[in-house]
């Protein structure tokens, strides 16, 4: 099997003449935990739907576990666990009937693991799916996805609707999965602190483009926010490459810059600032900077 479990090449998608995805490229190698971030409506769910073959791409190609998304054979599908946005379970079935359906149609079902999850989440089996709370539906969906011992897990906002304790339980569940070597996870979330805990690589989707695609550690060390104070007004012509964002307030200029190095430091110094301090940025801060409408994508160093 190819090294990359998920491959996205030049993905373009138009909805009603509107460009939602404008040339997306990224790969997720086996065993990687990839966090896909983006604001609501950025296109994360669209990418996932195209990956799973639920929606056709306008241009470009995507593949999962070595097979094209448009032609995923049943055997490969059986190795992919997915939790979709809105948890599309069959609403009017009883939970027990739904479980039996999944069990009968799955290729390898881990009864022990599934029962353990049902107990942990305390999910009732005799209620109809539509009578469960949103959080319980999310947990049911997760349990069903995990019960098939998937090679690849695709999670679209899996903690939506979960309370604090349930969210923590989900995190612990995810970490348990990670401990079993070789599993690959692609997930989207708005809760950046969760993403920071478990993701190894991060992708940030904004304005139809993947403005960030690198490891979490790299992202934090390469993206810096600097607070520069000038004796008089900040120069108009301060041209540093890879400035993601720039804000000017009086004599102070705050720039968010990628791949800060000695060269850039030297260039900055020629403009003779009176002080230059680094402002620590959390993942949330970086995310907000990168998804501003006027920001630039970060290139690989």
């Amino acid at each position: 099997m190819d090294e990359n479990v998920i491959k996205v090449e030049n993905l373009v998608k138009y909805f009603d003449g509107r460009c939602v995805l404008d040339g997306i490229n990224f790969d997720v190698p086996q065993g990687c935990i990839y966090g896909l971030l983006g604001r609501n409506g950025a296109g994360k769910t669209t990418i996932i739907r195209i990956l799973l073959g639920l929606e056709p791409a306008t241009r470009g190609e995507t593949s999962l576990l070595g097979r094209k998304s448009t032609r995923l054979p049943a055997k490969i599908r059986g190795q992919i666990g997915c939790v979709a946005e809105g948890h599309n379970l069959i609403q009017n079935y009883k939970v027990s009937r739904l479980i039996k359906l999944c069990k009968d149609l799955s290729l390898n079902w881990n009864d022990g693991a599934f029962d353990h999850l049902m107990e942990t989440f305390r999910l009732p089996r005799d209620r109809r799916v539509r009578d469960l709370s949103m959080g319980m539906r999310a947990q049911l969906n997760l349990s069903l996805a995990m019960a098939i011992d998937p090679e690849l897990l695709i999670l679209d906002d899996p903690t939506l609707g979960l309370d604090t304790v349930a969210r923590r339980q989900f995190l612990e569940l995810a970490i348990d999965i990670i401990q079993q070597q070789g599993r690959t996870i692609l997930f989207c979330s708005h809760i950046l602190s969760d993403v920071e805990r478990i993701a190894e690589r991060i992708g940030i989707l904004a304005a139809g483009k993947l403005v960030v695609d690198c490891s979490l550690e790299e992202l934090k060390t390469r993206v810096k926010k600097l607070r520069i104070i000038f004796p008089e007004y900040p120069p108009e012509d301060l041209y540093l490459t890879e400035i993601i964002n720039r804000q000017i307030q009086g004599r102070e200029m705050a720039i968010t810059v990628a791949n800060w190095n000695r060269q850039k430091q030297a260039i900055l110094e020629t403009f003779k600032p009176s002080s230059c301090t680094e402002v620590p940025m959390s993942l949330e801060d970086i995310f907000i900077e990168c998804t501003r409408p006027d920001s630039e994508p970060i290139e690989a160093a």
């Binding site: 401990q179 950046l192 979490l216 934090k220 060390t221 620590p280 959390s282």
Partner: protein, 131 residues
């Protein structure tokens, strides 16, 4: 062992783990041959990707701060006092720099500052010389 991950910090998570373990060692909370929790246990406890913790442990082993014994786990290494002393001096330097900045803004001059410091050191029995 209590480790707290600060999400607002710009330091990578694995680095934060290393910092806190080093700090615990420097402050004497962890001593030679103390057993560190396994990667698995710590990952579950902190709800962090175990690969991150594994990375922290690997780096610390590389720096000689911990040793892993096959089948037994990770243990605090025999640190010579100079290494530990360096870490301690750095930690104190960070705190002193913050005080210096405050003094500057409050327009307290260096002489007054030294007087205040000596009073505090006196109050808490900080010995005058090493040894």
């Amino acid at each position: 062992m209590q480790i707290r991950i600060d999400n607002a910090s710009n330091r990578p998570v694995y680095q934060q783990i290393i910092d806190q373990i080093k700090r615990d060692i420097a402050l004497g909370r962890l001593i030679k041959d103390d057993k560190l929790p396994t990667v698995r246990v710590l990952a579950a406890q902190l709800a962090i990707n175990p690969n991150t913790i594994a990375k922290a442990y690997r780096q610390m082993e590389g720096e000689g701060i911990i040793v892993t014994r096959p089948g037994a786990g990770a243990f605090v290494a025999n640190l010579d006092s100079s290494l530990s002393r360096t870490v301690r001096k750095k930690l104190l330097t960070d705190v002193l720099e913050r005080i210096a900045v405050e003094a500057y803004h409050m327009q307290i001059d260096r002489q007054t500052l030294l007087e205040l410091f000596n009073n505090a050191a006196e109050k808490f029995n900080v010995p005058a010389r090493k040894g």
